[in-house]
């Protein structure tokens, strides 16, 4: 089940430094929303607020609302473990569990949450590897350590791992940044398929990529959301001059 992610007046601080300033954005279900902006603008922080991964670090504080469906996940009472089961995340650098085999990497979330055992576990793992377009490449090496796969395969393994626990939202933090063009193409095709079932929010430095895969694009600068709109429109007629400058490479 996919749900809209609605961010309302979100501000975020690391200690005294304000990283996000009053950001509001809606990422609609079954759509890809791309976050673009220069390094250090706060787009990754924005992404990591949505699964509250920043709570782990001392000095982080947050104000505003993030609704998944109707539920404000920034509420103090939110069960973070349950939240992260519902919000899958793909990182910039592929991070399969190094001590686990290909199979166990995908099974890890299922085992963790006690979602499947025995035969149904094996079926789920296969289904997720197929969905991640990795099955044909790894079906004979399921017992090998996941860390021995190529970078692109590792990233698809991470996607399969995230798929296994059936999240509602997919967060992707520059998932292709460390991959070659062919692997990037694989992942992009995968993202297009994911959006048929999930809400996908992706941070990318690659504007062509944003244009290729996203329905909506949001431009973040110095912690502010400058503008957000349908990708096709934003890339042709940016309303804000800063967006236009960034898109045309005339910034700074």
């Amino acid at each position: 089940m996919a749900l809209d992610v609605t961010i309302e007046n979100l501000s975020f601080w690391f200690g005294r430094q304000q990283v996000l300033k009053n950001v509001s954005l809606r990422a609609c279900q079954k759509e890809v929303t791309a976050l673009i902006g220069p390094s250090g603008c706060g787009k990754t922080t924005l992404l990591r607020c949505i699964n509250r991964l920043h709570d782990l670090y001392a000095g982080a504080s947050v104000a505003g609302k993030i609704l998944i469906g109707e539920e404000n996940i920034l509420d103090a009472g939110t069960n973070r473990v349950e939240l992260r089961r519902r919000v899958g995340m793909i990182f910039q650098k592929p991070n399969p569990f190094p001590h686990l085999s290909v199979f166990e990497n995908v099974a890890s979330g299922l085992r963790l949450h006690g979602l499947a055992y025995g035969r149904s576990l094996r079926e789920r793992v296969e289904a997720c590897l197929r969905k991640a377009a990795l099955w044909d490449e790894v079906k004979d090496f399921l017992d090998r350590p996941g860390a021995l796969l190529s970078g692109g395969q590792q990233q698809r393994l991470c996607i399969a791992r995230a798929l296994a626990i059936e999240p509602e939202v997919f967060l992707m933090d520059e998932p292709c940044a460390s991959l070659d063009p062919v692997s990037t193409m694989h992942i992009e095709e995968l993202i297009k398929e994911l959006q048929e079932e999930y809400t996908v929010i992706i941070v990318t430095h690659n504007m062509q990529q944003a244009a290729r895969i996203s329905r909506q694009t949001a431009f973040v600068l110095h912690g502010e959301l400058v503008e957000a709109g349908p990708t096709a429109e934003l890339f042709v007629h940016a309303r804000d001059s800063r967006t236009e400058a960034y898109l045309t490479g005339k910034m700074g």
Binding site: A58, E82, L83, F91, F97, P98, H99
Partner: protein, 280 residues
């Protein structure tokens, strides 16, 4: 060109000095090994390893009880020190900046530098004097005190090598902190922690003062943990300073057994690292 020559000499001399120093370190080990082998190999036999000691002049004496006693006390020490040390390391890794962590790290570093004689005296005063009893238990505790800081510090290093990105992968998958530590961080660091434990065990196995002051020694088989117990280092010490040739001979044999055990632990640790590295 003389300038170039001078520069070559300048770069060659320090390199040669360092190379010599490295050779010196290696040769010290080999000289010790060679010497002990030469003097001790003659007395090694199955009977020597399994028999009880005999009085001076009576042939057939062995080191069986001392070998067993050493194994028991080192195992006991490891049993106490490993869980404690690893648990403390997990705390240090999870709360690296807390005051308790800083204090724990400082204490561990100081403890690794405290002479083993002092550790022996400490346990002697605390346990042996109070209970009026030398025992293998006290010996094990003294060895645990020796091992714990080494294990804590090395295990923390190993845990810290587990990258943040792996931990975040686990947390983002909905694992709690506890699950992340138990299912990811500890297994990923296990091989490295094991190496640290082996080295700590090797270090403890050869300690004389802590066991001498706490377990004393014995000429009988150890029957329980609450009686004086023989150990290899103490046996070597007593035999070596005795004026009797056959005891001195046996001291060399016992020294060989101890050194080989420590050597094997170190080699095992190296192999462990090699296998781990090959697996990536």
């Amino acid at each position: 060109m003389p300038d170039t020559k001078w520069r070559l000499v300048k770069s060659f001399v320090p390199e040669a000095v360092c190379r010599l120093a490295a050779l010196l370190v290696i040769s010290v080990l080999f000289l010790i090994l060679y010497y002990i082998f030469q003097r001790g190999a003659g007395v090694i036999s199955p009977a020597f390893l399994t028999a009880l000691p005999t009085p001076v002049g009576v042939p057939g004496g062995g080191i069986g009880n001392a070998l067993l006693g050493s194994l028991v006390m080192v195992a006991l020490g490891a049993l106490l020190a490993v869980p404690c040390g690893v648990a403390a390391a997990v705390y240090l890794d999870q709360n690296p900046k807390s005051r308790l962590a800083a204090a724990c790290r400082f204490a561990s570093r100081v403890l690794t530098g405290v002479p083993s004689l002092i550790v022996g005296l400490f346990v002697f005063t605390l346990l042996v004097l109070r209970t009026g009893q030398y025992s293998a238990l006290a010996g094990g505790i003294a060895l645990a005190v020796m091992m714990m800081p080494v294990i804590t510090l090395s295990a923390e290093e190993m845990l810290r090598l587990v990258p943040n990105s792996w931990r975040e992968a686990s947390l983002a998958l909905g694992a709690s902190k506890k699950q992340t530590v138990l299912r990811l961080v500890l297994p990923a660091a296990a091989a490295g922690i094991a190496v640290g434990v082996m080295l700590a065990v090797a270090l403890a196995a050869g300690q004389t003062a802590p066991v001498l002051l706490t377990a004393l020694t014995s000429i009988f088989w150890p029957e329980n943990l609450l009686q004086p117990t023989a150990s290899l280092p103490v046996l070597i010490y007593t035999y070596a300073i005795s004026p009797f040739a056959d005891w001195q001979q046996q001291a060399w044999g016992a020294a060989l057994v101890l050194v080989v055990m420590v050597l094997m632990l170190n080699i095992a640790a190296q192999l462990f690292i090699a296998v781990k590295n090959r697996r990536g």
